[in-house]
């Protein structure tokens, strides 16, 4: 019982103990309040900062696409956050060594600063990039890592890759300064992805303007591209386009099966001012190991990574069908997969006119490898893939 726990301090001697305890406890209100205020701030500030969708004049989808095409942003710098979730098992290094396998037989042959090796890392996980552009001749792309950075700098005829962690430099040259370096690197900015997506737009696609949004503090229109063909694994592609410059600021690809976006690339900060000229200056630091482009070409560097190309197929591939349900096929020349092997256990067995095969699934791409070594792959469902393979036979 606690009969003394009253507000009136009548019996001074006896009520002293509990009220002292209460006063002591009251002091802990301060740290608890501080914590509460902090939690509320963390929770509320983003909600308050989200000032709702901006009011912009109405625009049709066709006008918006034209705006993107006419966009002539020459100078830009910003921070890009890219998240890819293909639903692959987390293979870590294996994945990138597969992608660059053709280039380097052993790890030692390559350079840690070679762009082909480094930028494949973008194929999974979340990464922060910095981009800077000043006209067609000067671009810089940096991949921010923990206490290190990988930079790809194009300045005039030179292309430099610098990996600060290992202090290695890659150097290449471009004969025509215009555009080539831009084409050589895998897509990394929202603009790259948006252009690839717009290439696929045809009469089997619905393109609409879906309101407005704020991206990186700028008002933008939202363009939604939806494949209408059945069998595509692409649910919808949403592109936020800056209302003033027509520059795509954010690109999101959601799979038809639902869930988190497969690819989400967006600026978190963007400025259309001219970047400082020193940004594009690069001299290899003293003592850095420099690899020249020619040293790597012995092994034949793959120019493109198949899984990243949404529209076009690399050489030696046949495209089946058209539009979003295009299936690429090529002959590996081998005898397919050894039955009962490790890779076999990752896929599902299927039978059809093509014999038997194994389907490997990710959240976006499905690939069918048949017994006789033919590969069919596309952003289509398993059923559509098997059907395409049967029709091809």
């Amino acid at each position: 019982m606690a009969p003394h726990d009253t507000d009136g301090n009548t019996t001074a001697g006896e009520a002293d103990e509990p009220s002292r305890a209460r006063r002591r406890a009251a002091r802990y209100v301060v740290p608890v309040t501080v914590m509460g205020v902090a939690a509320a701030t963390i929770g509320l500030v983003p909600a308050l900062a989200d000032s709702g969708d901006p009011d912009l004049p109405e625009i049709t989808a066709a006008q918006l696409i034209e705006k993107i095409a006419k966009s002539d942003v020459e100078q830009l710098s910003g921070t890009v956050k890219i998240t890819t979730d293909l639903g692959l098992p987390d293979l870590g290094g294996l994945e990138s060594s597969l992608a660059s396998g053709a280039m380097s037989q052993g790890e030692d042959d390559g350079s840690a600063a070679d762009p082909a090796t480094r930028l494949t890392a973008l194929a999974s996980g979340t990464h922060t990039l910095r981009v800077a552009t000043d006209g067609p001749e000067r671009q810089k792309l940096s991949l921010l890592e923990d206490a290190a950075e990988y930079s790809l700098i194009h300045n005039g005829k030179d292309v430099w890759g610098y990996d600060s962690e290992s202090n290695e430099v890659y150097h290449g040259t471009v004969d025509e300064p215009v555009g080539k370096a831009e084409e050589e690197r895998p897509p990394a900015t929202p603009k790259d992805f948006a252009e690839e997506a717009l290439k696929s737009v045809d009469d089997t696609t619905s393109v609409t303007v879906d309101g407005t949004a704020q991206v990186a503090g700028r008002d933008a229109y939202k363009l939604v591209i939806k494949p209408e063909q059945p069998g595509s694994t692409v649910g919808a592609i949403s592109v936020a386009v800056d209302h003033r410059t027509g520059m795509p600021l954010k690109f999101t690809l959601t799979p038809a099966a639902g869930g988190a976006a497969v690819v989400d690339v967006g600026f978190t900060k963007v400025s259309f001012d001219k970047p400082a000229a020193s940004t594009f200056d690069f001299t290899p630091p003293k003592g850095a190991k420099v690899t020249e482009e020619g040293d790597l070409d012995k092994g034949g560097r793959p120019e493109h990574e198949p899984e990243k190309d949404l529209g076009k197929g690399p050489d030696g591939m046949t495209m089946l069908g058209e539009g979003w349900t295009t299936v690429a096929t090529f002959d590996t020349g081998g005898a397919g997969l050894p039955a009962g092997g490790f890779l076999d256990s990752l896929g599902d067995k299927v039978k059809g006119d093509f014999g038997t095969g194994t389907v490997f699934s990710t959240r976006l791409i499905n690939a069918l490898v048949t017994e006789d070594g033919t590969v069919y792959a596309g952003a289509v469902t398993k059923q559509a893939l098997v059907k395409a393979a049967e029709e091809a036979k």
Partner: protein, 290 residues
Amino acid sequence: MSRAETAVPGVRWRWTFGLFRSELLTTLRRWRTLALLGVLVAVPVLIGVAVRIETGGGAPGGGGGGEGPAFISQVTNNGLFLVFAALAATLPFFLPMAVAVVAGDAVAGEASAGTLRYLLVAPAGRTRLLLTKYATVLAFCLVATLAVAVSALTVGALLFPLGDLTTISGTRIGFAEGLVRALLIALVVAASLVGVAALGLFVSTLTNSGIAAMATTVGLLITVQILDHIPQLHALHPYFFSHYWLSFADLMREPVYWENLTRNLGLQALYAAVFGSAAWARFTAKDITS
């Protein structure tokens, strides 16, 4: 609690400063503190000599490829990078451990030595005594970080060439600007320890045993660092005081990438506010028996 609030303000401030100075000198004169600083000074020497021996005969640069603490591959080409490498090597453990020992000892050490009540006999008031103790611990954070930085700079200048340096973004900056960045990094590293200091001070007010407080704080430090590496707990990671520690390296980017730096400083301020006020709540209401 304090009954000396009626004193003349000027006198009070001078008195507080005197208390702070005597506290700081007492702390820095302890053998324990000197040994901790000795260890911190030795780390850059060890790294510098090891890198020097490793690359002594062969070609400089190149190899290594991302092993060891950050920045280590550039040390052979520019001694200034030893400052960054040494801070990156000591920040995860040596520096916070030293701070945890000093902070854990702050109040509990006095209590176990039986000197706390004598300190409170002076007309200081418990709040002001606690603030002085915290200021002393913060001053130690700065002293410890600068000890590492100065030792690394000396070793780096003796063993390796100095000169213009390449930022991790690939741009070049002059040596003078490099030094300014090194100082800025040292300050950010010192500020990164503010959270541990507040946590240690709070633990120190909970017990009358200095050893128990130090052990608890160092234990918490290790636990948090381990939890920070468990991927399943990623939702909690942004709230661990050690999570953004290595963001000081972002100062070496061009332009500087502020996002994680500001998060780190904000988090440290939050820890200081929460555990500082908790320490106050505990200390001002505590029965001082020794």
